[in-house]
Symmetry: C2
Subunit: 207 residues, 2 copies
């Protein structure tokens, strides 16, 4: 293995390598990171406690690029806040879609993530949701954003047109715009519909 | 390698092994499958054309368990059809969440998937959506379902309660019910809100 380049090993450098492995193959392992960095696996543990800490470091990176204060500053209503945060959150996560199943399988711990979750919770509280429904509404937005971030990584042709496609589906496929604007348009329709629907349901619950 | 057990090698057996690899590590490779089956990689290509065909075989399995006709039979409105299909689709995909990024990165080709997509397209056409909006509405439902299927695999504690969590977020976390019912409740709220919102937006577009 040679002499470990100990002066270079930092949590961020370890996280960089984990991220490259996830982009390449959908996951990372501690021995895999060690091999790529040409250090002993035990050396990694001098800098990070393990897999969970790396996942949270990567989550913190993705969340840091969501500018919560900027979204709040330009929003007039709680719906604007939710839609604006969802848009930023999707943009950030779409850059590394294969991280998404690792994030959803791990407890959210990094402090910086709570800048966004706090703002979402405030928005739904101000809309009159109960605490349980605040959590469900946040989860619903979260699920929609993560699915939409995966859609950004979709191939140019999302659906082939096999023999089994009916007339309605064929017309819909034929109407598809190029990838980026298709994914963006679907996200914008979906996030407006989701928030609009949450408004309707919260009014019904209040009556 | 020994003598390849050629009599056993079938597309389904290859797909079984790919699925186990995805469940374990988030992805599969042709050499990896070959090693696990103790055959030469070249032997696999006598049965399947490659990675893409395996992904579509696995998609076909997941989609086969969505009973489109049963959902249509018990639905009174187009909203019922969409919500019922979303519910079945999530149930199926939640069993193997790590397949999801592989599916979203690959063109949908398997005929059986179009049983569901055709029914969704018919539902949105009957709701008065344009062809482009039919595609965006289907994509929005798809994204929400896939994100929600990932949430089924979330840890018991989705959010820790770090110092940075505000009062609204702390109350929401404290109100969380146990995992399965939490994820189900979030999905049910979200899918009803999404479809309700699509109704509102389609009425606005029609006026």
């Amino acid at each position: 293995m040679g002499r470990p380049p100990r002066r270079l090993l930092t949590p961020d450098w370890i996280a960089d390598e984990a991220l490259r492995m996830v982009d390449d193959s959908g996951d990372f392992t501690m021995p895999g990171i060690a091999a790529r960095l040409k250090v002993r696996p035990s050396s990694l543990y001098n800098h990070i406690s393990g897999r969970g800490e790396i996942i949270e470091l990567l989550r913190a990176r993705m969340m840091s690029s969501v500018d919560v204060e900027a979204v709040k500053a330009k929003s007039r209503t709680w719906s604007d806040v939710v839609i604006g945060l969802a848009r930023e959150y999707r943009r950030s996560y779409a850059q590394h879609p294969r991280l998404i199943p690792l994030f959803t399988a791990h407890t959210v711990q990094t402090e910086v993530a709570f800048n966004m979750y706090n703002a979402l919770a405030d928005a739904f509280v101000s809309a009159g949701f109960s605490s349980a429904d605040v959590l469900h509404a946040i989860t619903a937005v979260d699920s929609f954003v993560l699915g939409s971030a995966l859609d950004v990584a979709a191939p140019k042709e999302v659906w082939a047109t096999p023999a089994n496609a009916n007339a309605a589906m064929r017309s819909a496929i034929a109407a598809a715009t190029p990838l980026e604007s298709r994914a963006d348009a679907a996200f914008e329709l979906g996030v407006r519909a989701l928030v609009e629907g949450l408004v309707v349901l919260s009014r019904q619950a209040a009556n």
